[in-house]
Subunit: 333 residues, 2 copies
DNA sequence: GTGAAAGCGCTAACAG
DNA sequence: CTGTTAGCGCTTTCAC
């Protein structure tokens, strides 16, 4: 329970026989205080178990030493890496980390930002579902950093999806596949668009027929319908929006007695926990998601000092790599 | 970026031609203000886009409308459910949710609590690694709720481990197993102790030989050494501290060509993501971890109002259930 | 029913 | 180098 009275800077001041401001200085700007005084004050503070009030500091300085991360869906293991990376980095910088799930809703994102605006120094928007325009406008008022999303002029950290998508197509092409299906995720998903464009372009260049189905909920359960939809297309390769969906597809195909990769090859994105031990293990595009979270925090911290104009357009692009496992193989026939 | 000046309660007061205190009342205690005045004030506030400063409110009231959850390890999917449940509940109550990973270290827990003490209304300690005494002492000063941990006199929400452990043993007994090994988790883990006691007692009652090995790191990689250790004991059944460890054991056994469940049966705890699609799929004790997170937040909120004495000893015990899959089968021979 | 004023705990001028 | 003073934005007596 919060004890009735916590020791304040005034308690320390009185006990040490100095002014409160001196205590404050001894704590913040040690060099602006006589060495002896400082020692003394610090000693008293220590003895009294003084702990500064972040609230009071924040109220007065406008800095909260806090960042908030908005994540569309915590059900999706994809975000765990990002969250972990961001939390670690924030923690290392002594920054408090607020986590908020927005349930795949742009409105929720807005509401949360509104609510937290005065309590944080900035927002980490992970795979935001908001439109470019909305985000752009928000950036006028708030310190933002995007994760796995790019908006013109705003700082972002994204794990490459384009080069990786091309690698996927090349991999499939080299296995002799001539047609592939992309199972798309939420239509507000920026990466979904990126992936499809890259897949589509590469496929055309390599003479592969590429079609898109969906959107499907990016969850294991979404894989059922997705798999059935794939089978009617007759495609020999499936690229799913993420590993969850891919795993769902694997399960449904197994149920229906379709051999993977014998009849159909399956590829996912993210290399989530479990991608290596599902059956068959999943070929997937892996990327340093935690690194993306880490970088985004850094971008935020960089801009924390700035106060007027919009942040500089810093973009961090992290490399992904294709992890080839058992779910892809030569095209049938 | 934080705009230079946000609209304050004074701006609203001036614009509405009333005192700041009236604005405050109109917002907080609508009934203590003339209906007409209230409407007017609210209108002006709305028009000016006024948003209260949580910091100022907190500083003055002592209430932060924020809780912090301390989690030993975010790498472990086991915690995802708890985190999700807690975040959801907090969010629904308009409570800001701070997440902090303590890297399996009791010291880190203490440090974080110290750091956040003045910024939050209470702490959620998930599977805390601290000693009973330390937690007990902390409770003098802070509002605490425990998740999957019990300490005399403190509010807690735990997913039952004892009844479930008994079920595990009964399950194994009914399959004819006569010896089992428990692979224990971190020795500071309270649930690890609970589980072992329950397993051990039940085993004795049913005439099964039960031994404990470990501690092992509760991760997939920990399963390698654990599996090897099991094999030398000659036991026909293994109960792992959690599913990660169990999955690690499955992999190692597969590598070594040991049939599961043909030669050895394997059981885990938690029913994490992936437990249903690893091979063989994992028999495991499932429980409503998200419910535990949710309940813990409620316990915290209940006590938030109280300010002096320690919180009442509210304990929530949530039922678990055994999910039988392919990793357990009749004892060999 | 409403206003004036004090104060939550801290920092940042401004004097001295 | 250090003390005094004035707020940060809000809530809460205490008067009127």
């Amino acid at each position: 329970m919060n004890s009735p009275k916590r020791t304040t800077i005034y308690d320390v001041a009185r006990e040490a026989g100095v002014a409160a401001s001196t205590v404050s200085r001894a704590l913040r700007n040690p060099r602006r205080v006589n060495a002896a005084t400082r020692e003394h004050v610090l000693g008293v503070a220590e003895r009294l178990g003084y702990r500064p009030s972040p609230l009071a500091t924040a109220l007065q300085s406008g800095r909260t030493a806090t960042v908030a991360m908005l994540v569309p869906d915590i059900t999706n293991p994809h975000f765990f890496g990002t969250i972990r990376g961001a939390e670690r980095r924030a923690s290392a910088a002594g920054i408090t980390f607020i986590l908020s799930y927005t349930e795949e809703s742009a409105d929720n994102e807005l509401t949360q930002i509104e609510r937290l605006a005065r309590s944080v120094d900035g927002f980490l928007l992970a795979s935001s579902r908001m439109s470019d325009e909305t985000i752009w406008e928000l950036a006028e008022e708030h310190n933002l950093a995007l994760v796995n999303r790019e908006v013109r002029g705003l700082p972002s950290a994204v794990v490459d999806s384009r080069v990786g998508s091309r690698q996927i197509v090349e991999h499939l092409a080299s296995l002799g596949h001539e047609s592939m299906v992309y199972l798309s995720g939420p239509h507000q998903s920026w990466v979904a668009g990126e992936r499809w464009h890259a897949l589509h372009d590469s496929a055309r260049n390599l003479g592969i027929r590429a079609t898109r189905l969906g959107p499907f909920p990016p969850k294991v359960v979404g894989g059922g319908a997705a798999a059935d939809a794939v089978l009617v297309t007759g495609a020999t390769a499936v690229v799913a929006h993420n590993d969850l969906l891919a795993i769902g597809v694997l399960r449904r195909l197994a149920e229906r007695g379709v051999a993977v990769p014998g009849q159909v090859s399956v590829v996912g994105y993210d290399d989530i926990f479990g991608a290596d031990f599902c059956v068959p293990s999943l070929t997937t595009l892996a990327g340093p998601q935690d690194e993306a979270g880490r970088s985004a925090v850094e971008l935020l911290l960089e801009n924390r000092s700035r106060s007027t104009a919009r942040a500089p357009d810093r973009r961090v692009m992290l490399p992904s790599h294709l992890v080839i496992r058992e779910s892809t193989g030569p095209a049938p026939g």
